[in-house]
């Protein structure tokens, strides 16, 4: 377990206790239901972080070997911006007129396509970056976790 999740678990236990107290006190279903919804979300998130094993991107090595670990950070994601604007256009269109839903839908497809392309090229960039760093440092691929 990752100890960073402990504060989340403490907080989760606290609201679970309060929700249960409210339930025992005899409140209506909507009230108690909303509270337990928040409890469950919190616990799922906390347990997710407690169990997480994925690599910390800016971990230990950033200090020692920045050349090996520096990720390719996206400076700009046109795809994300278009996706956000597309969603707003579609929601607005739901009340304003169907034509906006179609325009927004088209933008959304464009945004998704662009996002997919960006993520692909970012992955290739990161890999190349790490390999170049290793080559410079004369380290075998096996020595450093990806």
């Amino acid at each position: 377990m990752r100890r960073a999740a402990i504060p989340l678990l403490i907080y989760g236990a606290f609201i679970a206790g309060n929700a249960t107290m409210l339930w025992i006190w005899g409140e209506d279903a909507v009230n108690v239901g909303a509270f337990y919804f928040a409890v469950i979300v919190t616990w799922l998130v906390a347990l997710g972080f407690a169990a997480a094993h994925w690599k910390q991107p800016d971990g230990e090595a950033l200090r020692e070997r920045p050349d090996l670990t520096r990720r390719a950070l996206p400076d700009l994601s046109f795809g994300a911006g278009i996706t956000g604007i597309a969603i707003v256009t579609m929601v607005y269109g739901a009340r304003f007129g169907l034509f906006l839903v179609w325009i927004g839908g088209g933008l959304l497809l464009l945004g998704f396509a662009r996002l997919a392309a960006e993520l692909g090229s970012q992955r290739r960039d990161s890999r190349r970056h790490v390999e170049e760093g290793r080559a410079r440092a004369g380290i075998d691929a096996e020595d450093v976790p990806p």
Binding site: I6, Y11, F49, L73, L76, F78, T83, Y92
Partner: protein, 543 residues
């Protein structure tokens, strides 16, 4: 020695649309929130002008309803809540030694949902019967299509959904950053106080914001003819779900500003935050309690268990007291430098105290029956929501402006702004307690001259314009300071935390080199052990 500040480049359009650098994203969010603040402030000034005298002078009653609805909605959904997270988006990665925010693309989508939601809500002004006018919490059945028909109210509902979803996405990214991107050695109990306040804020965002989105979707469906909220129970259910969001968001609008004030206090006093572990733990308790008190907004409905919610609401004084103790403990024995950021932080704690103490009164159902729907409530929540956010925000702005822009804000103008805002805030909101006690109800556009409420109302209107002049001084300060050529340097205030270990403004990856982290004041550790140069404090410069 002074160096020349680097020239700032104007952001390009593509850079605004697709920003993924947390610093650019945070800055864009701050600018958007500030623009909505100006709009919400103008609505407030118009209301205050109408209320200055008995009778109707400026507008129709319907317009007044629109103004108080859009004032509250703009301030809550579009200004203070996004602002609270925007500070975190900019500062948290710097404070925990991360190169970036988690899932920056998702955060960018969140930013656009927020801005788009805000514009959706405000576009109601362009419709023929005006924008939403059922109050910022739009209680049902007032917000139903029978009582409040019209396109503008629908746009209000859609705007709330979009803006809340957007801010929620940003909060989720921030939570991921705090949990997953901390630098080596930066354990949870070594995170700066401000980052702690952002962490607990994000916990409330993920628990409470989805419930608001749900209730707004249900309200939208109800307005389109699907019967969702029916009869007494329907009205109560709407309020239950709304306030399940509505109370926690009050703390979303408080914690990060408390965190900003805490940093300004600690650095201003030259001491690390007193009772750090107790403060962190009490923040968790504070947050858990603030999730458990929502129905104190419904004491007088007769539909909730008042005893439970009164108990939890009153219990809030315990963690709040611990945070105040932390502030006092930090000041005692400190070598205080009275900078603008420090003074704003001090004002934050003092002004919020009035809001907090009046909260103990309205947390008691018998007293709340008396205060309900009167100006006492308006006074209470403006001392918490306005004083408890704005003063902390400006403490943070004066503290971190040099980090973000490479130049300091002018201290003289800053102190003038503080004076105007302290005077204005108390002139505007203190008389409301007395008007409420005398029975003036909230949400009224006028009152009979025979009540004698005119004098206090004129004072309040003057106060509102004094606050506005304080904001104007701030805008002048920003514009004139940005033209300054004197670089602030990486560490102008002799800071304690990691953000002061990198250049101002920081490079794209934030840090060329990360100093070791051994406590929640890592830079102060290094300064005390002589491994890091101290910035000269003004009193040392004099000596």
């Amino acid at each position: 020695m002074s160096t020349i500040a680097a020239r700032r480049r104007a952001p390009s359009w593509t850079g605004v649309i697709g920003a993924t650098d947390h610093k650019v994203l945070g800055r864009n969010m701050l600018i958007a929130a500030f623009a909505f603040f100006i709009a919400g402030g103008v609505f407030a000034l118009l209301m205050r002008l109408e209320l200055a005298q008995p009778g109707m002078q400026l507008m129709a009653r319907d317009s007044y309803d629109e103004l108080f609805t859009m004032h509250g909605s703009t301030m809550v959904y579009l200004f203070v809540t996004p602002l609270a997270l925007a500070l975190g988006v900019y500062l948290v990665p710097l404070q925990i030694g991360a190169a970036d925010i988690s899932a920056p693309r998702v955060a960018n989508i969140g930013f656009w949902l927020y801005v788009g939601g805000g514009l959706t809500m405000e576009s109601g002004w362009l419709t023929d019967i005006g924008p939403g006018r059922a109050g910022w919490f739009s209680a049902y059945p007032l917000s139903g299509s029978d009582a409040t028909p019209g396109f503008g109210m629908d746009l209000w509902v859609l705007g709330v959904i979009l803006a809340t979803a957007g801010v929620g996405l940003v909060g989720a990214c921030l939570l991921g950053t705090i949990m997953r991107r901390r630098a080596p050695g930066m354990t949870m109990l070594r995170m700066p106080v401000f980052t702690w306040t952002e962490l607990v804020t994000c916990l409330m965002v993920i628990g409470a914001f989805p419930v608001l989105i749900l209730v707004m979707v249900l309200l939208y469906l109800d307005r389109q003819g699907v019967h969702v909220f029916q009869g007494f129970n329907g009205a109560i259910d709407y309020q239950q779900l709304f306030w399940f969001y509505g109370h926690p968001v009050v703390y979303v609008m408080f914690f990060p500003f408390f965190g900003a004030a805490a940093e300004a206090i600690a650095v201003g006093a030259g001491r690390r935050w007193f009772g750090y572990e107790a403060s962190a733990l009490s923040l968790l308790a504070f947050t858990a309690l603030s999730m458990s008190v929502w129905a104190h907004h419904m004491f007088t409905t007769g539909g909730v268990h008042n005893a439970y919610f009164s108990l939890t609401s009153t219990a809030l004084v315990v963690p709040a007291g611990i945070e105040y103790l932390g502030m006092l403990g930090t000041l005692v024995g400190g070598a205080i430098v009275f900078r603008t950021s420090f003074l704003f932080a001090l004002a934050f704690f003092i002004q919020f105290l009035i809001g907090g103490l009046s909260g103990i009164f309205v947390a008691s159902p018998p007293l709340d029956y008396h205060a309900q729907d009167s100006y006492i409530v308006v006074a209470h929540f403006h001392y918490t929501l306005f004083a408890g956010s704005i003063f902390g925000f400006f403490a943070g702005v004066y503290h971190w402006f040099p980090k973000a822009f490479g130049v300091r804000l002018r201290e003289g103008l800053g102190k003038l702004q503080l004076a105007l805002m302290v005077v204005g805030t108390n002139l505007t909101f203190l008389p409301m307690f007395f008007l409420g006690q005398e029975g003036m109800p909230r949400r009224v556009a006028t009152y009979p001259a025979s009540t004698g409420w005119g004098t206090l109302n004129v004072l309040e209107t003057v106060g509102a314009f004094v606050i506005a002049s304080g904001v104007l001084v701030f805008v002048v300060n920003v514009l004139s300071s940005l033209r300054s050529h004197v670089a602030a340097g990486p560490d102008p205030w002799d800071g304690h935390t990691l953000e002061w270990a990198t250049s101002s403004p920081p490079p794209r990856h934030n840090f060329e080199l990360l100093p070791p982290v051994r406590s929640y004041a890592p830079l102060l550790d290094l300064k005390q052990s002589g491994e890091w140069p101290r910035a000269r404090r003004p009193e040392e410069a004099l000596a």
